[in-house]
């Protein structure tokens, strides 16, 4: 099992980003990924965040941030404005993940997307043996209060990208903490990776 924490995810993302590139972090939270990428890769960064108190936290850190919603506000950006668009652990909370994915690859050359893998063995186990929706460190909400609307498995994500004319360029190996070439569905990942982390682009 490969539990990935925030710092490790930052490291994996940072490793694949070209220095001095322009990025937008959608659902940028308190701006910690942007800060990490600014100091490690000298990126020109923008953030988008739906929670206003977090927007203010970003402002105080000197981060350029727009209070906005991935579902509705990505349309405001022109094509290919950024080198990278980043959406970490937010896709499952959007109203329309399909449109959000299309927007991600429209506004940037490449998009980096991560999400919880609902196909992970622990989730399957929780459903199968306990007959209960899983609650763990990554999915720490009960079913009745979760902001997550659209759970998917790694394989579901791959299928959707195929259908959307989106190319999966790389997938992160969460054990080796780095991106590697995407070679199609992997049985190991679909069972044992608690998260999917992909680099995608327009086909």
């Amino acid at each position: 099992m490969s539990l990935i924490n925030k710092t490790k995810e930052f490291e994996i993302i940072s490793n694949i980003i070209t220095p001095n590139s322009s990025i937008i972090d959608i659902g940028c939270n308190d701006g910690s990924l942007i800060e990490y990428l600014k100091s490690n890769k000298n990126v020109n960064a923008r953030g988008m965040e739906i929670d206003q108190s977090k927007v203010r936290t970003c402002l105080a850190k000197g981060i350029s941030v727009v209070e906005g919603d991935a579902d509705t506000d990505l349309f405001d950006y022109p094509d290919d404005l950024f080198d990278y668009s980043i959406l970490t652990y937010t896709l499952q909370a959007t109203k329309n993940p399909k449109i959000v994915l299309e927007q991600l690859v429209r506004i940037a050359q490449k998009a980096i997307v991560s999400f919880p893998n609902f196909g992970h063995w622990s989730i399957a186990t929780s459903l199968f043996f306990n007959r209960e929706m899983p609650v763990n460190s990554k999915l720490d909400y009960s079913w009745y209060e979760t902001p997550n609307l659209h759970f998917c498995t790694i394989n579901d994500f791959i299928n959707l990208c195929d259908g959307l004319n989106i190319k999966i360029e790389k997938k992160a190996d969460l054990r080796k903490l780095k991106f590697e070439e995407f070679k199609g569905k992997s049985l190991y990942d679909s069972y044992f990776s608690d998260s999917g982390l992909f680099l995608i682009s327009k086909k």
Partner: protein, 372 residues
């Protein structure tokens, strides 16, 4: 603070060329400053006031004796910290607190301008402010900020003099006036002009001033500054100093009494002709006027770091209008931030105690200053 200063800029030989084709000169600008300009002249913040604001941004108003209209934002240890920054707040031309405007003396005739004052625009106001900034030998303003009409001036600075603006905070504003905005201003102008004491603008020095017309104009405008919720919360259907209806046209309801008070106190500090000229300038404002209607063209030279702020209950300059600015600046790759403050206080929110608004201003200004 330094005292209110009045300075003569431009001249009859070298007048300010106005958008209407006429020229104006000499012009006077009345302004206040707070804090100290540093040696490098990099710490100046220009504050642009709104329609009925003035240069008394953080000091007692000479007529009303009330504290400055933005004294919760500008001052020592406030979001615009006068311990760090040199704050300049000029009265706009067309205004009535000392800058050249309809109630001032026309040097040609030695009489008040009245309706001989040329129709000015937001762009003309900014050109006049630029003369002041040049006079102060400031090459780059650290920040230009203002709400409502003040926000329009900020946008004009970004568009017309982009190299003079390091950062900008347009608040609760718009890139142009909607039909609804124009309609409300026309209502105000018509109420002034319907007052028999207005006399086509020739009321200066007489005993009869168009106070009733100006007062009604202010009442109408004041409604547009508040939201339905805030009116309901403050006044509801409460009666004013009575328990039963009068069955008359007296101010039975608290809201009536409040509006009448707003109207009556306003006329003591504002000139009716100024109200006509300034509302006209706002109606004429369209940042795309010189760019064939293109917002992108209007801001294409902008390099400043920008923070746009709107308020949820503001129906005069709603979030959707402010977002047009954000969208344009984003498309141009400009460093723009945006937030919408949740409040029930309507358009007036930018003048009121809104801690989250202050927090956002403080965060943006401090972090931008630390980058210099």
């Amino acid at each position: 603070m330094d005292e209110n200063k009045i300075i003569e800029l431009s001249s009859s030989e070298k007048p300010l060329l106005l958008d209407c084709g006429k020229s104006l000169g000499p012009i006077k600008i009345a302004y206040t400053t707070y804090g100290h300009l540093n040696k490098e002249k990099t710490n100046a913040i220009l504050v642009c006031h709104a329609l009925t604001g003035d240069q008394f941004v953080a000091s007692q108003h000479p007529i009303t004796k009330k504290e400055g209209w933005w004294s919760n934002v500008v001052g020592p240890n406030k979001p615009i910290d006068t311990n760090k920054f040199y704050v300049i707040c000029p009265n706009i031309i067309g205004g009535c607190m000392g800058s050249t405007g309809p109630k001032e003396i026309d040097p040609l005739t030695q009489k008040e301008y009245g309706l001989n004052f040329p129709v000015i625009t937001i762009s003309d106001m900014v050109k006049a402010q630029k003369l002041l900034i040049d006079h102060l030998s400031i090459k780059k303003l650290f920040c230009v900020t203002g709400g409502s009409m003040g926000g329009m001036l900020v946008l004009e600075w970004l568009s017309k003099f982009p190299e003079y603006v390091h950062s900008a905070i347009p608040i609760a504003t718009s890139v142009n006036h909607s039909a609804q905005n124009i309609a409300l201003n026309e209502l105000a102008r018509q109420s002034i002009m319907a007052d028999p004491n207005w006399k086509s603008g020739n009321y200066y020095g007489t005993d009869s001033q168009p106070t009733k017309g100006l007062s009604v104009a202010r009442m109408a405008a004041h409604i547009s500054y508040l939201s339905k919720e805030s009116l309901h919360q403050k006044f509801g259907r409460n009666l004013q100093d009575k328990s039963e209806l009068d069955y008359s046209f007296n101010a039975d309801f608290q809201i009536e009494s409040y509006l009448r008070h707003q109207g009556i106190t306003f006329v003591d500090r504002f000139d009716a002709n100024s109200y006509l000229y300034i509302t006209r300038a706002m109606d004429y404002f369209d940042i795309t006027a010189n760019s064939n209607g293109s917002l992108i063209e209007a801001f294409k030279k902008t390099k400043s770091k920008v923070l746009c702020i709107s308020f949820t209950s503001d129906w005069l300059y709603p979030t959707s209008e402010n977002k047009k600015i954000v969208k344009t600046l984003n498309a141009l790759g400009i460093d723009v931030s945006f937030l919408e403050i949740e409040t029930e206080n309507g358009h007036d929110s930018f003048l009121l105690n809104e801690p989250e608004f202050f927090d956002a201003l403080d965060g943006f200004i401090s972090s931008t200053w630390s980058e210099i």
